[in-house]
Amino acid sequence: MKKAFFFTLLACFNFLITFAQSSNGVEMATGLRSSGKIYVVVIVLLLIFIGFIIYLFTLDRRISRIEKNDKKNNLIK
């Protein structure tokens, strides 16, 4: 979902035609950068990604706890 959102956003940005052009005449999103909006995008994506990693981490710890318990109760090798 984060990917879909990210790419939708990126697709939208492509349609934001700025009047600033790069040196070889190809338009890039320099307007977004100069207005600082790009930083909001980065932070949003990082937050979602950090949330995902925290989820994986808590899942990992929960599994480790069960494995340790099983080992103690001799259920698992």
């Binding site: 990917k3 879909a4 990210f6 790419f7 939708t8 990126l10 697709a11 940005f13 492509n14 790069s22 040196s23 070889n24 190809v26 338009e27 890039m28 999103a29 950068r33 790009i38 930083y39 995008v41 980065v42 994506l45 990082l46 990604f49 950090i50 990693i53 994986l56 981490f57 899942l59 990992d60 599994i63 480790s64 069960i66 494995e67 099983d70 259920l75 698992i76």
Partner: protein, 222 residues
């Protein structure tokens, strides 16, 4: 499997590539414009998928040699995670294609081949679900895996290069590993591929460990 360093390394690398991927400098190319940044995510999805399928076929072969159920667990969970990355690769590719080629699926050889490869691995899952007995399920799906893997390689990497294709790296187009991937981009792209591969392995190990626990709790000896 219980050590955390490589898991956090993968997370940190992807964290870095999100920041550098959006804020870093990219060459200004026609048609692509800023969307060239999608390469930092779309291609690593496929790298992660490839690694997963490679691990899967290795463990399928190991299972056939040893008969150890854990190897079968690794094989199936690797395909499961590989399929997830495959879906994200396809979705990200379709979104990217839509804004650059004007069509999410222009019936291109590379795209059609990747669809066939995806269906092959979905068929692996369907095959497993169709077999009730544990040993025959593991053995038959392992043999299927051994066939599916090289066919997937041919479909994704050989066939599209033999014919006309829109996709970068095939049909005479410059790949992003060619002169269009600047040194600056390589600094983000290569870590991104590594980071997502590490995260893929992490997710696979979690699923594998859960499967082992469920199996054990059923009182079965493995």
């Amino acid at each position: 499997m219980k050590s955390y360093w490589w898991k956090f390394l993968g997370a940190a690398i992807v964290f870095y590539t999100v920041i550098a991927g959006l804020l870093g400098e990219v060459p200004a190319l026609p048609i692509l414009h800023e969307s060239i940044r999608v390469v930092y995510f779309h291609v690593p999805m496929w790298f992660a998928m490839l690694l997963m399928y490679l691990i899967s076929v290795i463990y399928s072969i190991r299972y056939l040699g040893s008969g150890k159920t854990e190897y079968d667990f690794v094989a199936v969970e690797s395909v499961n995670v590989g399929l997830i990355f495959c879906v994200f690769g396809l979705l990200s590719g379709m979104l990217w294609a839509n804004i650059t080629w004007g069509d999410p699926w222009p019936n291109d050889p590379k795209l059609n081949s990747s669809a066939i490869a995806s269906l092959m691995y979905l068929a692996y899952i369907v095959l497993r679900n169709a077999l009730n007995e544990e040993q025959s399920r593991a053995k038959i799906s392992a043999i299927y895996n051994v066939f599916a893997f090289p066919i997937m390689l041919v479909l994704l990497f050989i066939l599209p290069r033999l014919t006309d294709s829109l996709h970068p790296g095939n049909g005479g187009n410059p790949g992003f590993s060619g002169y269009d991937m600047t040194g600056g981009m390589k600094l983000v792209f290569r870590p991104a591929a590594l980071g997502w591969m590490l995260i893929g392995v992490w997710i696979m190990t979690l699923r594998y460990r859960i499967r082992k626990l469920e199996y054990r709790k059923d009182g079965l000896d493995y």
